[in-house]
């Protein structure tokens, strides 16, 4: 779905006129802005790690075909099944075939899943599907879009969140619910879905080309359940998530968490193949307590082209920490209402251009102040404002 600049402005202005939206956003921003700076001060090694991640990402972008091939080989070596989906619809079809129409399916928050429209697609094919990240579940319940990369429901006040949970899940909440009440109710509601789930779908923060290890970082603990309980675990991730080695993939998770403002992260998961045991006669059996099958769907959807496009290639370094969003003066007023149908903020404009074409990003770029605050905070030094200004050319010259 592409939006014209005029349509985006209409949405943005609706957001500006919505006092509840503005209030929730104001509260979230005041808690999140500048958060990474404390983390960098108290853990000085993070800046050095960020530089290493930047260099490693460059290495992969420069040799993207080689690294995709290498990653797929490594995945096969650890008994995972790799796929390369060229387009969003191909990615959806692959996942549907793996799921085999059988639900329920549990998902942990993945922006690439949003990008390819996975949840809605599986649902339209009759698969019962549940988001398990609390914020993302709220987004699913309101049929909306994530309003921040790592904090998808920041646009909802506690009252609005409670209304959604009550009305859509039929869950009982006290008359004046606190965030704690909502968390507890959702925990109970989802527990049974986790246990019954036939498949779990996660994203990936990083995938190590040398080992085929998938690295995931989280705080809620839902990823552990999504990736650990069902028989099948499906990873869906952009090829930009590939890093050369496992050490740097782990570094990426640390840097991502710190710049997202949550450090140390509560959990980091490393998943290299399906669960297995060789406890009886040293005979390797796949499918122990965790999944028996691990499928990794690598998504291109414009990324290979972007790697060769000087206007977009730097954006492939993005580690989706959402820091540029928290710091952007426009985003602080609009959240992801500005940035594209899926992504939002400064990084969103560019991801929209990568995944939907430069023209789709170009109209959005016109709302950028070009103030460069995003550039100043990006952990991997993406010159966001310069790339966005370059996109304005595509708007202006048409």
């Amino acid at each position: 779905m592409r939006l014209t600049l005029e349509e985006v402005l209409e949405q943005v202005y609706r957001g500006l006129e919505d006092p509840e939206f503005q209030e929730a956003l104001r509260r979230a921003v005041s808690n999140a802005e500048g958060k990474h700076l404390e983390k960098l001060r108290s853990h000085p090694y993070l800046s050095a790690l960020a530089r290493q991640v930047r260099e490693a990402k460059e290495e992969v972008i420069n040799n993207i075909d080689t690294y995709v091939r290498k990653t797929m080989e490594s995945l096969r070596r650890v008994k995972a099944t790799p796929y390369l989906a060229e387009t969003a619809s191909e990615a959806r079809e692959i996942v549907y075939r793996i799921v085999g129409g059988e639900g329920p399916v549990v998902m942990s928050k993945s922006m690439v899943a949003e990008e390819v429209g996975l949840r809605d697609y599986l649902s339209s094919r009759g698969v019962e599907i549940w988001e398990t990240d609390l914020g993302q579940l709220l987004v699913q319940l309101e049929h909306g879009k994530p309003m921040h990369t790592t904090a998808p429901a920041i646009h909802l006040t506690v009252d609005r969140a409670a209304r959604l949970v009550r009305d859509r899940l039929g869950v009982d909440l006290p008359p004046k619910p606190r965030p704690e009440d909502i968390v507890a109710a959702v925990r109970v509601f989802l527990r049974e879905k986790f246990v019954r789930a036939k498949a779990g779908i996660s994203g990936a923060n990083a995938i190590a080309a040398d080992t085929g290890a998938v690295v995931l970082v989280e705080n809620e603990g839902n990823i552990r359940l999504v990736t650990g309980l069902p028989e099948k675990h499906i990873v869906i991730a952009g090829i930009d998530k590939i890093l050369p080695n496992l050490d740097i993939a782990l570094a990426e998770a640390l840097v991502q968490a710190a710049y997202a403002g949550l450090y140390p992260p509560t959990y980091i998961d490393v998943i290299a193949g399906p669960s297995n045991t060789a406890d009886i006669e040293h005979h390797r059996v796949y499918g122990a307590h965790g999944p028996r099958e691990l499928h990794v769907v690598l998504v291109d959807n414009g990324r290979l082209n972007a790697a060769r496009d000087p206007d977009l290639r730097d954006q492939l370094r993005c580690i989706r920490c959402g820091r540029c969003q928290w710091e952007c003066p426009v985003w602080q007023q609009t959240a992801n209402l500005w940035g594209g149908p899926v992504y939002g903020g400064p990084m969103g404009v560019l991801w929209t251009a990568i995944t939907l074409g430069k023209e789709a990003g170009a109209g959005l770029a016109m709302l950028c102040l070009n103030c460069g605050r995003c550039d100043a905070v990006c952990p991997v030094e993406i010159p966001l404002s310069r790339l966005i200004r370059n996109l304005k050319k595509y708007y202006a010259e048409k």
């Binding site: 500006l16 007023q333 103030c371 100043a376 202006a396």
Partner: protein, 324 residues
């Protein structure tokens, strides 16, 4: 809802026709220098880039656009005007800037010359060379129009024989020093802001003794993040006797005034300006110091709306502290 492509085509056709982004008489650019005895030739040439002088006109122009934004017919009118490149003529008849704003922009430029003089920096000025840098074209992605326009600017600057160009605002500074250089459009000319020159020669400046009150400093995004002009305004204000109060977001992480998207999304722009003026006012400062004409106009308007302290250009704050 504004039709953005129309705004772009109006902007481009204005510049193509008159060299200026908005309908304004050419003397608006240099009338500030009348009566001043500034030499025409010299190694160091003042190039104002016209932003301070044009801002009163841009203000009126964009408030007219903002009004159109709320009218259903507005988009149509704009689209038609854009198509026939005729809004410049329509608007030419109706852009009457506020006299006070025009006078203020003159005082700012006159103060800058006085300050440079007090610092012992001798600048030359040529009204026929001074003009608009084309920065808006570049900012809006109209690269071809920008390159064409700027080629003329670069040619006339080179013909003066000056070796250093002195700029007075962050946008012109950035275009001359970084953008034009990156695009290979400017010959080997040194570009310095008047703030850098003043700071380099600060010991020559004779400021009044005693305290001058408090000033909250609003860093320009381009100065702070692209041109490394952060320390200079602070040094100058301090030497002039001001107590500097830093807002929550300052220096390299300074916060935009919202100005750059004012003509595209006025409501969004003004929300950003209000957020910024709020934190500047929170410092409790008597006055707010800006160093960019766009910040000045935008924050002044926001401060009026929010009942905040006066917003004053840095040059005026410094000049009022010069010994007579």
């Amino acid at each position: 809802m504004l039709d953005v492509r129309s705004i772009l085509s109006i902007l481009a056709s204005n510049i193509k026709a008159t060299g200026l982004p908005v309908p304004a008489p050419r003397e608006a650019l240099y009338s500030w220098s009348e009566g001043l005895s500034i030499p025409k030739d010299g190694d160091t040439l003042l190039y104002t880039g016209g932003l301070y002088q044009l801002l009163p006109y841009i203000e009126v122009y964009s408030s007219q656009l903002a009004k159109l934004e709320d009218k259903r017919s507005g988009g149509l009118l704009l689209r038609a005007a854009g198509r026939f490149s005729s809004l410049s003529r329509i608007a030419g008849a109706i852009v009457r800037p506020s006299k006070r704003e025009v006078e203020e922009s003159k005082r700012i430029l006159q103060s800058i010359v006085r300050l440079l003089d007090a610092a012992g920096v001798r600048v030359a000025y040529r009204r026929e060379v001074d003009g608009y840098s084309g920065v808006l074209l570049y900012d809006m992605g109209l690269d071809d129009d920008f390159k064409k326009h700027f080629a003329q600017v670069a040619r006339s600057l080179a013909q003066t024989g000056a070796r250093t160009i002195v700029t007075v605002d962050p946008h012109t500074t950035h275009v001359l020093r970084s953008v034009a250089r990156r695009l290979g459009l400017l010959p080997e000319l040194e570009v310095k802001t008047y703030l850098e020159l003043l700071a380099e020669n600060i010991d020559n400046i004779n400021f009044k003794k005693g305290r001058a009150g408090t000033a909250a400093i609003h860093d320009s995004c381009l100065y702070a993040r692209r041109e490394n002009v952060i320390a200079q305004p602070r040094l100058l204000l301090e030497r002039a006797g001001y107590q500097i109060l830093e807002p929550r977001r300052s220096g390299r992480l300074t916060y935009c005034c919202g100005g750059p998207i004012e003509s595209i999304a006025p409501k969004l722009s003004s929300r950003i300006a209000l957020a910024r003026i709020g934190e500047l006012a929170d410092t409790g400062a008597e006055r707010i110091a800006t160093m960019c004409p766009i910040c000045l106009a935008n924050l002044k308007r926001a401060s009026r709306t929010a009942g905040g302290p006066p917003v004053v250009d840095l040059s005026l704050l410094l000049a009022e502290r010069l010994e007579a």
